[in-house]
């Protein structure tokens, strides 16, 4: 395995070209196609420089294994996942690294229904990858590539079954969009027209590099905040590079934490959802919103794969994470930022209130999301040590270590996508959060 390559249940990611390159992408696609054996694969990519190149390697390798490809070219991954419910597929491949910075990229694998691959399936693909045992077929059995334009009208039609389109249209919202020069840029026009939005888009040229890290969070929201203020807009939002995550800016020009996205969706879907899945590191805001709406929250490991598969297993109607992610099982098989935006537009038009007012009853919680650089070879030693230290505090090992204390909790885990530890701390008082940060940093240093 290439050094610097990150393996997660649903794909491989790494910096281009040293860790992830055409050769790796090709072998990985051959392994996935060999695993699937037959059928048809939906393929899309984001707007990163390296995505087209990697996509070419993917297409070649899939058809060399005798499977057909339906190639959507540059497309948000949620659209691919949506389409995979409309027609029969055996799998999907998206070349996108979502929120990772440049020069990262990833090859993400989907099952036939458009879900991120499950852990056990993912490891089967890696076994084939490592063995190099690829199923290359003779010329007569080669697959073919069919180019396809995403039918955005189908997508919008399904959205219109979920939200009150007429009410949103009447409101004529002025909305500031920051798609981070990602793939959603080219679809914003159609979306805005559908809801009669007065759209003010910034950073909407997929040909250009990312203007800021492609992570929707209030740290990256300063441009949108400024534009909302200067234009008197009703709402602002930021996306990651593949349109799976979103965070919002209120009508007052204040960036909301990405942790607010999931709770806002629950509020918007009040009385329509009974059970929802979230992760062990999602903010207590989600519990609060769930309580308001009579929703039961189930918690699992971090990541889309774990969440959507638990949704399936438990028959939960929705799922989401504190990263600005939300999925609705009746609509599609994965996180979808434009679906989320539709739900929030529905919420503010229904309440006839701005976002700042809607979030004002949210409990005051302080959350810190910290990245702690630890060399890869030390990661598991550090985790072992922390496990020892906290063994008496009734630790939760669902994903890393979570410790709950009065008025505060924290979770520390190795990142699945980058070489670092992620420490999340949330508490009712800022001092509590600060003291825990000091405590953990001290323990890691030693």
């Amino acid at each position: 395995m290439q050094e610097g390559l990150r393996i997660s249940v649903s794909g491989i990611r790494g910096e281009v070209p040293d860790a992830l390159n055409v050769e790796v992408a090709s072998k990985f696609s051959s392994a996935f196609s060999s695993y699937l054996e037959e059928g048809r694969i939906g393929v899309c990519r984001d707007s990163r420089y390296s995505s087209h190149m990697l996509e070419m390697a993917v297409l070649s390798s899939v058809i060399a294994s005798g499977l057909d490809c339906v190639d959507f070219g540059m497309l948000p991954i949620p659209f691919l996942q949506f389409f995979m419910r409309e027609e029969a597929f055996t799998g999907g491949i998206a070349v996108t690294a979502g929120h990772n910075p440049l020069p990262w990229n990833a090859v993400v694998l989907l099952d036939g229904g458009g879900h991120y691959l499950e852990a056990s399936e993912g490891s089967e693909v890696f076994n084939i990858y490592e063995a190099g045992d690829f199923n290359n077929v003779p010329w007569k059995k080669l697959g073919g590539v069919k180019k396809k334009t995403f039918p955005i009208e189908h997508y919008l039609k399904e959205i219109s079954k979920l939200v009150n389109v007429e009410r949103i249209k009447r409101a004529g919202f002025k909305v500031v969009a920051d798609p981070c020069n990602g793939v959603v840029s080219s679809f914003l026009g159609a979306f805005g027209d559908f809801f009669n939005l007065e759209l003010i888009s910034i950073n909407d040229d997929p040909e250009k590099p990312f203007p800021h890290p492609p992570e929707p969070s209030f740290e990256n929201a300063s441009q949108v905040e400024a534009v909302v203020k200067s234009t008197g807009a009703d709402l602002g939002f930021l996306l990651n590079s593949d349109g799976s995550r979103i965070s919002f800016v209120s009508e007052k020009g204040n960036g909301l934490s990405e942790e607010c996205t999931f709770p806002l969706c629950l509020l918007s879907l009040k009385d329509r959802i009974k059970k929802a899945v979230s992760t062990v590191v999602t903010s207590g805001l989600a519990d609060w919103a769930a309580e308001q709406c009579g929703v039961k929250i189930l918690r699992t490991k971090v990541g889309q794969s774990a969440v959507v598969h638990m949704m399936e297993a438990e028959g939960a109607g929705a799922g989401g994470e504190g990263s600005g992610s939300f999925a609705l099982s009746s609509f599609s098989s994965g996180y979808d930022a434009l679906l989320t935006l539709s739900l929030v537009l529905d919420l503010i038009s229904g309440e006839e209130k701005g976002l700042s007012e809607i979030i004002s009853p949210f409990p005051k919680l302080y959350m810190r999301k910290l990245k702690i650089e630890v060399p890869p070879e030390r990661t598991y030693k550090v985790m072992d040590k922390l496990e020892d230290v906290y063994s008496k505090e009734n630790p939760n090992f669902m994903d890393g270590i979570r410790i709950d204390r009065k008025g505060v909790w924290f979770n520390i885990r190795p990142s699945a996508t980058e070489f670092l530890l992620r420490l999340f701390i949330e508490g009712e008082k800022e001092e509590l959060v600060e003291s825990i940060e000091e405590e953990i940093r001290g323990r890691i240093e030693l």
Binding site: P17, S26, Y49, S50, S61, P138, W139, L142, V145
Partner: protein, 447 residues
């Protein structure tokens, strides 16, 4: 001894799809080429094989990976790709074609700046990049550019070279058989622009070749019948990548691929211009008669298009080629080009007012035996050694295998660079003599 069907050599990379020619291999080879070229534009074209799509995506990703930008020329004959590369001053080109090999094969052929195939020392250097994995992978790849009407440049070059008014005044009836290959989308319109009335055989892009793509007489039955049926002046057959040409006369008889070049040279020297001529060591002796009569020099080189092309450039020869139907005219480009060949032969017919059979009649006739036998590389050496002793009274040349000349026959025995085979060519004035010499050689070859 196990012999792989994958051939990585100075002529490129060739293998059987699904067996040895995998996407990973194609990617790495394209990465090596892109790294070797070191950026700039690389044109990519394919023939009509069904595996072209799989190979092309891999080639694109490999080129992009190492910083060059691919131009997508779609399906295009190899001479058109070479001309495009030269005229547009590109850094290189990759042709995805296994030319006359059966449909389960595919291959990459590499073209350098200036539109010639890689010189052997360049190819060696490229193979170093490949074997050592010396790839200059970039963080920010370039883009793929789609080229529309990629054949136009080639067509224009020929229209400038040929006496188009003469051809249009003397409307010829031509049957064309491009073997469903890379020429298929273009050749009908091309011949029509040369003023011909065109009947197509095997022009559909079916993906599977409708006949064996090698343009030798036994594969041209369909074409011969069509020439007779429609009372055409001439029939032409191209191979899958359209570098080689064979002709059928007005009676429906194949004139033999050696005579395609002979007639083209004969006409060039008498009807166009006196110029030295370059052919390879395996080409028919009739070229010696033609050049002698015209009083120009004939130079022979090792087998291989690039060897002939380079020698032509060196000595300023305007015409040359290879006896297997490869006509090279430097006015258009120093590459084997069936389109230029057709134009030249049509001009010959129009200007002379004679039938193709009559034009061939005028030339001395020879009988040629072409065979290949399986033999390992070591075995090949032994055979050459043995034959050079056995025929030591002849005029011996060892520049490329073994060529021995006698006054009434000659033969050329050459181990292939790419396959474990030895090619044997014998030519004599009399068929019986040629066959007898061939039998003698085969007896000598036997272990």
């Amino acid at each position: 001894m196990r012999i792989s069907d994958l051939k990585i050599s100075i002529s490129g990379i060739r293998g059987i799809v699904g067996k040895s020619l995998t996407p990973q291999l194609i990617i790495k080879f394209s990465e090596a080429f892109s790294s070797y070229i070191g950026g700039g534009k690389i044109a990519v074209a394919t023939d009509t094989r069904p595996s072209a799509e799989m190979v092309k995506y891999a080639v694109f990703s490999g080129i992009l990976s190492c910083g060059a930008s691919p131009l997508d020329l779609g399906i295009l004959p190899i001479p058109s790709l070479q001309i495009y590369t030269k005229e547009k001053e590109l850094e290189g080109a990759i042709s995805i074609t296994a030319s006359h090999n059966p449909v389960e094969w595919n291959a990459l052929k590499l073209i350098r700046k200036g539109g010639l195939f890689l010189f052997p020392y360049e190819a060696e250097e490229l193979l170093d990049f490949y074997y050592q994995g010396k790839f200059r992978r970039v963080q920010k790849p370039e883009r793929i550019e789609k080229v529309v009407e990629p054949f136009a440049l080639h067509e224009e070059k020929i229209l400038q070279f040929i006496d188009i008014n003469l051809l249009r005044r003397n409307r010829l009836k031509v049957v064309i058989d491009p073997c469903g290959g890379a020429a298929s989308p273009y050749v009908k319109r091309f011949l029509e622009r040369l003023g011909a009335e065109v009947i197509c055989v095997n022009c559909e892009l079916s993906g599977e070749f409708p006949r064996n793509p090698e343009p030798v007489p036994e594969n041209l039955l369909h074409l011969c019948e069509a020439v007779k049926k429609y009372g055409a002046d001439v029939g032409f057959a191209q191979d899958a990548d359209a570098d080689r040409l064979a002709a059928v006369d007005e009676r429906g008889n194949p004139i033999g691929e050696e005579y395609t070049l002979a007639l083209a040279v004969d006409y060039y020297l008498t009807g166009k211009e006196k110029t030295p001529v370059v052919v390879n060591l395996s080409t028919s002796k009739v070229l010696e008669d033609i050049t002698q009569k015209a009083g120009v020099k004939l130079v022979r080189t090792k087998v291989g298009e690039v060897n002939v092309a380079r020698k032509m450039a060196d000595i300023g020869a305007k015409i040359g080629g290879e006896g297997n139907g490869g006509i090279i005219v430097s006015d258009v480009h120093t590459c084997r080009d069936s389109f230029t060949g057709m134009a030249l032969l049509m001009e010959y017919l129009a200007r002379s007012g004679k039938k193709l059979s009559e034009l061939k009649e005028k030339l001395p006739s020879y009988f040629m035996v072409k065979e290949k036998i399986k033999a390992s590389f070591r075995e090949g050496k032994r055979i050459l050694n043995k034959l050079s002793h056995e025929f030591s009274d002849g005029n011996i040349q060892v520049t490329d295998g073994l060529r021995v000349d006698y006054h009434d026959f000659w033969f050329h025995v050459r181990p292939s660079n790419t396959e474990p085979v030895v090619r044997i060519i014998v030519e004599g004035r009399e068929a019986e003599l040629a066959k007898e010499v061939f039998r003698k050689i085969m007896a000598g070859v036997a272990p």
